[in-house]
């Protein structure tokens, strides 16, 4: 199945080279893939996954391994960020 993977700020280097400028890529993952599975498949350092959203909704660190993705989901990840 396909999902949209968005890796922002310093995490963009873990996207395919052609997708780094836009910070997002359509990627194919196995049916039943979890958020943790995608993080590992794209070698995103877990310690840098400070803010994880699926379709804009927060996924807590302890829920990453159990959160199953569906076709068309948008998975977005940031390192530690703040502002205002």
């Amino acid at each position: 199945m396909n999902i949209t993977l968005k890796l922002f700020a310093t995490l963009a280097v873990h996207l395919p080279p052609g997708a780094r400028r836009s910070h997002q890529a359509e990627v194919e993952v196995d049916a039943g893939a979890t958020v943790m599975g995608v993080i590992q498949a794209f070698r995103v350092p877990l310690g840098q996954c400070a803010l994880v959203l699926v379709n804009g909704s927060f996924v807590a660190p302890e829920a990453l391994a159990g959160k199953v993705l569906a076709e068309g989901d948008v998975l977005a990840i940031w390192p530690p960020v703040g502002g205002g």
Partner: protein, 616 residues
């Protein structure tokens, strides 16, 4: 102790400058900067005074950590009655100006009265003089700073000034120091302009004006607190690298990025105006917008943005004076000038932001007022002939022209310069002003973040994000994660955030430290700085006292609990997209509880018990 225990009183009517002792009893109750200046304003002025009248006062104030080695200890605030809101105005700035005021030996400068002719204050340690500013009137902040430094042959003077916006009565004019730091919100620059005060220039070289009560304890605490900032992912890595602008994509993804005057809640052009985009080489010239980051006095975070524009961009191709490096867009400015108007041209936003720094006006209110004008234009209420050009959504050309006209005080720029409440009211649609108490929202939609809705409604200076910052728990999970769509638990959390923020501001440090520091980190520095008993409990009570004093001032000025509300659009029009689709701001579920936890009546008035408990 790190108060200088001295203030300067400048009577602009009489043309006198007089030093006097700081009221230490008040200092122990209100700490400094925001809290202490508010106490002076409350005691010395009639709350019903017209903001631009001679009877209003303008107070520049530092805190006890300003001008010390504490990280970010360079902040000062300008406190007055605000012309945009008619409420208390407290606008806070970084840079180097605040620390210089302490180095000259002053905790605070109080300006009262009105000068007959334009003047500026030159303060060199104990010598304070009001000098003729006729040659500076009509000049920008950038020109003013350069001319004053040249006139006194001192490049190390620190200058805070108003530009043409403050002279022209732009109701959201700010005071700019160090070229691109600003006491930007609520119109404090318009009050300065009404007093014919063009600038304050300070050179301080005193080393005996103040010292920590416990020097060894202070330096140990400061070093430990700096290690906390360096080791934290947000303050040690995220903010230096991407600045506040990294939030653009975050807030868009969570469905809380107000777009086109809050008609929508997500912006299709968010990525193009984001912190990530600022770092990428442009297609046009192969260079990135962002040149480097930048730090204020004593700051070990360095979130500031320094940008260079594409020289071929339509806004500056014939204006080489804007081709150099200058203050780039921060998140709130990029949102207001961008998403709020539907504009996704990062270079145009950068130029408009340069103009805000150059002539001293608030990019948040500028952008949101232009967004409101674009909606009035879409509805056919504003005609092309009135403006001289079209105000179509997303028009970078319109944004640039209106920013220029507002800076210069010409044409439709004079209307924009009065803010969105006056604009929308004058076209018969006050409901389209996205403001609270007359001040426009910053960059978070209260339908997507319920705690922010409550924060906006209850902020003492009108809609504001730096009077509590519920984005931290609702989006970033700092200090704990709260459901942004829920209303439960938001009132007590907001109260704690508001009170702690009042402490941070009153201490003279930057709010961004609180991404890493908690109350105990701040207390650990204040205790050895001032000596005596400064427990965390005492500080939090002090923060609550400051909040309630501001509230009492607003009530005495004529505001009521009915002003603690939001525009009908946020209360009635559901979010159209994103994870918060279908949500409205559920203020009615939170406000009664908020009044209760504050110890206020159901009408929003502090009860006699609360007044007594806080020693007001």
């Amino acid at each position: 102790m790190t108060w200088t225990r001295k203030i300067l009183r400048v009577n602009l009517t009489a043309g006198t400058c007089q030093a006097e002792p700081l009221n230490l009893e008040w200092a122990r109750q209100y700490l400094g900067q925001r809290g202490l200046a508010t106490k002076y304003l409350v005691e010395e002025t009639d709350p019903k005074v017209l903001p631009l009248a001679e009877g209003n006062k303008l107070i520049f104030a530092t805190g006890p950590l300003t001008g010390t080695s504490a990280s970010t200890g360079g902040r000062y605030a300008v406190v007055t009655k605000g012309p945009l809101t008619g409420a208390i105005a407290c606008s806070n700035s970084g840079g180097y100006f605040g620390a210089e005021m302490k180095f000259a030996g002053y905790d605070m400068i109080i300006f009262e009265g009105r000068s007959e002719k334009p003047v500026y204050l030159l303060l060199e340690n104990d010598e304070a003089r009001l000098l003729d500013a006729a040659h500076l009137w009509g000049r920008t902040c950038w020109e003013t700073e350069e001319l004053i430094k040249h006139a006194h042959q001192d490049p190390q003077l620190r200058v805070a000034s108003i530009g043409r916006a403050g002279e022209n009565g732009v109701l959201f004019a700010g005071i700019v120091n160090d070229l691109h730091r600003a006491a930007g919100r609520s119109g404090v620059g318009a009050v300065m302009g009404s007093k014919n005060l063009k600038a304050v220039a300070i050179r301080g070289t005193r080393t005996d004006a103040y010292a920590p009560a416990d020097p060894e304890g202070f330096f140990k605490a400061v070093a430990a607190a700096k290690a906390v900032l360096a080791g934290n992912g947000v303050t040690g890595q995220g903010l230096p690298a991407y600045g506040t602008q990294v939030l653009m994509n975050v807030i868009n993804e969570v469905g809380a990025l107000p777009t086109r005057n809050h008609k929508e809640i997500q912006f299709e052009g968010a990525h193009a105006i984001s912190g990530e985009a600022m770092k990428q080489p442009r297609d046009s010239d192969g260079k990135p917008n962002l040149v480097t980051n930048n730090a204020c006095f004593g700051c070990t975070i360095a979130c500031g943005r320094i940008s260079k524009m594409d020289k071929g961009h339509f806004a500056v191709k014939d204006k080489p004076q804007y081709h150099g490096a200058s203050g780039g867009v921060e998140y709130e400015a990029a949102w207001a000038l961008g998403a709020a108007c539907g504009v996704s041209d990062l270079e145009a936003l950068t130029y408009a932001n340069f103009l805000c720094n150059e002539d001293g006006f608030d990019p948040i209110t500028l952008g949101t007022t232009i967004g409101a004008a674009m909606e009035l234009y879409e509805l056919g209420l504003i005609k092309k002939e009135e403006v001289g050009f079209g105000l179509e959504w997303g028009s970078a050309e319109a944004l640039v022209k209106l920013a220029e006209m507002t800076a210069q005080g010409v044409g439709f720029g004079k209307v924009i310069g009065l803010g969105s409440r006056v604009l929308c009211t004058s076209y018969g649609r006050p409901d389209l002003s996205m403001s609270v108490k007359g001040q426009e929202f910053p960059a978070y939609d209260g339908r997507g973040l319920q705690g922010m809705a409550l924060e906006y409604a209850t902020s003492n200076r009108g809609a504001c994000h730096v009077r509590g910052y519920m984005v931290s728990p609702e989006v970033l999970g700092i200090p704990l994660k709260m459901d942004p769509g829920a209303t439960e638990g938001k009132a007590p959390m907001l109260k704690a955030f508001q009170d702690l923020t009042a402490v941070v501001d009153s201490a003279g440090i930057c709010l961004f430290t609180t991404f890493a520091w908690g109350g105990p980190d701040i207390q650990s520095m204040i205790q050895p700085a001032l000596g005596g008993d400064w427990s965390l409990e005492r500080l939090m009570l002090l923060g609550e006292r400051v909040w309630n004093l501001e509230r009492a001032y607003n009530l005495a000025a004529g505001l009521t609990g009915k002003d603690d509300t939001l525009p009908p659009r946020l209360l009635n029009e559901p979010a159209k997209t994103g994870p918060m689709k279908g949500k409205v701001a559920e203020l009615g579920k939170m406000l009664p509880e908020y009044y209760q936890v504050r110890g206020w009546t159901p009408d929003g008035v502090p009860t006699p018990e609360t007044v007594a408990r806080l020693g007001l």
